[in-house]
Symmetry: C2
Subunit: 342 residues, 2 copies
């Protein structure tokens, strides 16, 4: 299949359909008291520089250091009692791994996580520290979905997909509900919301959350350059894959194609997408450090990068961005800031 051909005109996942706004509301109920209601931050000095109002949803402060805990907990907490003894299995480059491991530990369920051997060391170490068994694989020669499916069929463990799962999408969508409440409390009317996009789980959940609340707010996906499959798919009106061979230090956002369920939502609800370079991401990481006092990993900083790099107009407008994760190896963080940030 050529890289940029549609992978399917109307693909489906057997037995699964996208969640609804009501599912996001229900997820918020399940997460209450378990997930952190992360703050919506603002820097008046940065606003002065930008000539508009920028609100930052600080998901780096979420349990496990990224938004992924929300979807994982919403999914795992709904596994029927009789199936829990078989555990859960997931494949992930790191943030979903930690989210699943933490949610499973909180719910007393064994977790096995399939991770690429070149994932950030901090992500592998923390996944193990949460009590999960980590199975490493080679990103270039092995198929993580096949490994996950094999473990699931051998052990009966429930597979917790990173994005193409309605409960996971609904869980991530709780970010959007909080964002709407918090913007309201801050007296802000959101012209647009931008969020990082890998497989599209978070942005689709946010879109569903806001569709019932803020129908006038435009929602944009932001991806690394070379991995802007969702941006291009939105333009084409069908799921396109990335051209192999690109590289980016945004390890969390390297999905090859939009998800099936996520694109069903995103194709309908998103206003478009933006792609940002590693240098633009590095500068955004420095802005997060200096103006918001937040440590943001590369993949977590792409939406902020789109604003700082001027991809979207902010003058006289109010934008919100999600800074979605902060799990970056110290050496990578230091190098990114030294190279691009100062």
């Amino acid at each position: 299949m050529p890289a940029s051909s549609p992978s399917s005109h109307s693909p489906t996942l057997p037995g699964l359909s996208p969640p609804t706004h009501a599912d996001v509301i229900a997820a918020a109920g399940r997460l209450k008291g378990h997930a952190v209601v992360t703050p919506l931050l603002e820097s008046p000095l940065l606003n002065d520089q930008l000539g508009g109002r920028l609100l930052v949803k600080a998901e780096v402060l979420q349990r496990t250091g990224s938004f992924k805990f929300r979807g994982a907990f919403n999914r795992i907490s709904q596994i029927p009692e009789v199936e829990r003894a078989n555990g859960v299995v997931a494949f992930s480059s790191g943030n979903h791994a930690q989210g699943v491991a933490a949610a499973a530990r909180m719910l007393g369920i064994k977790a096995t996580i399939v991770m690429p051997s070149d994932a950030p060391a901090i992500k592998i170490a923390n996944t193990r520290a949460w009590g999960a068994e980590v199975v490493l694989y080679d990103r270039w020669t092995e198929d993580r979905e096949a490994i996950g499916a094999r473990i699931s069929s051998e052990t009966g463990a429930t597979l917790v997909r990173p994005y193409d799962d309605p409960h996971v999408m609904a869980g991530q969508g709780t970010i959007g509900l909080e964002l709407a409440d918090q913007a309201d409390a801050a007296g802000a009317t959101l012209d647009a919301v931008l969020a990082p996009c890998g497989g599209g789980g978070m942005i689709s959940g946010i879109a569903l959350a806001l569709s019932g609340r803020l129908p006038e707010t435009k929602i944009f996906a932001v991806e690394p350059e070379g991995f802007d499959d969702t941006r291009r798919s939105l333009v084409a009106g069908q799921r396109l894959a990335n051209t192999p061979g690109a590289s980016s230090f945004c390890d969390a956002l390297l999905a090859a194609t939009p998800g099936i369920l996520t694109f069903a939502v995103n194709g309908e609800h998103l206003a478009g997408g933006f792609a940002v370079s590693d240098a633009e991401v590095g500068r955004a990481m420095a802005v997060a450090r200096d103006h918001f006092k937040l440590v943001v990993e590369p993949g977590g900083a792409v939406a902020l990068a789109a604003v700082i790099a001027g991809k979207v107009a902010i003058e006289g407008r109010t934008l919100a961005v999600v800074c979605s994760g902060g799990n970056v190896d110290p050496a990578v963080y230091q190098r990114a800031l030294s190279e691009f940030g100062i």
Copy 2:
């Protein structure tokens, strides 16, 4: 006067007496909707390592990047209408400067800030960005209090002291009220609270806040080595000065002696103090980065450092620390983490 002799047995500030618990409650009312209710963060993985429960009050997320906004706003918002046109003046190494500048801007009052010429560049730049006029002085040859008093007498501007002011102390104390509420919501019973201490404004306010709420909770001041005047004064039962000549990169905590009003409170309410080295602070800055995703300046990290360095027992106990500020020059931050943190 020898450096370690008492500066006075029972000194007073004319017309001023320390605030009460009720004053802290009143301050919280004034700050509502103006200051950020900063989150109380927790890292289960770090708790596992420490064998206890550690809660982090993230004042780096406060408006202007440090707790100082609270006291400044509580003070300035009480200036009578007829005196507001004369403006305010303050002396500060940087965080109080920004707090006063931001509060003054929000209240439509002109601010003049006297800052040492070697203050962190980010602190000077941000103070100007908040609209204040900055007057630089030489820390080694000039007397900032005299410069502040002169400007005040020439212009009629109200002097906003950095800590020895009951309204400033009460404002900082609102941290303690939030901490008590948030610990309660987290099901935590606090064995002890540790906070950074320069002149002692924040720790005294927290002590007053908790005295009516959590009388069993021990409260400790943490200072840089060589600047542990409050720790030694608590032992001696009277205000002692630091021995000149010490150095520390904790620029926010270099006060020469405890304040008069602050020590009146601290002498009665604190359980003691700890001193930490620059290396211990650097490691705490790395812990804040890796476990809490927070950028903490050296002076803001001393209380966390006391816990991480094992100065206070945490095994089987619940401690809270205030990370009080995040205004660190990028190069200093990078260097501290490279030298001590990774």
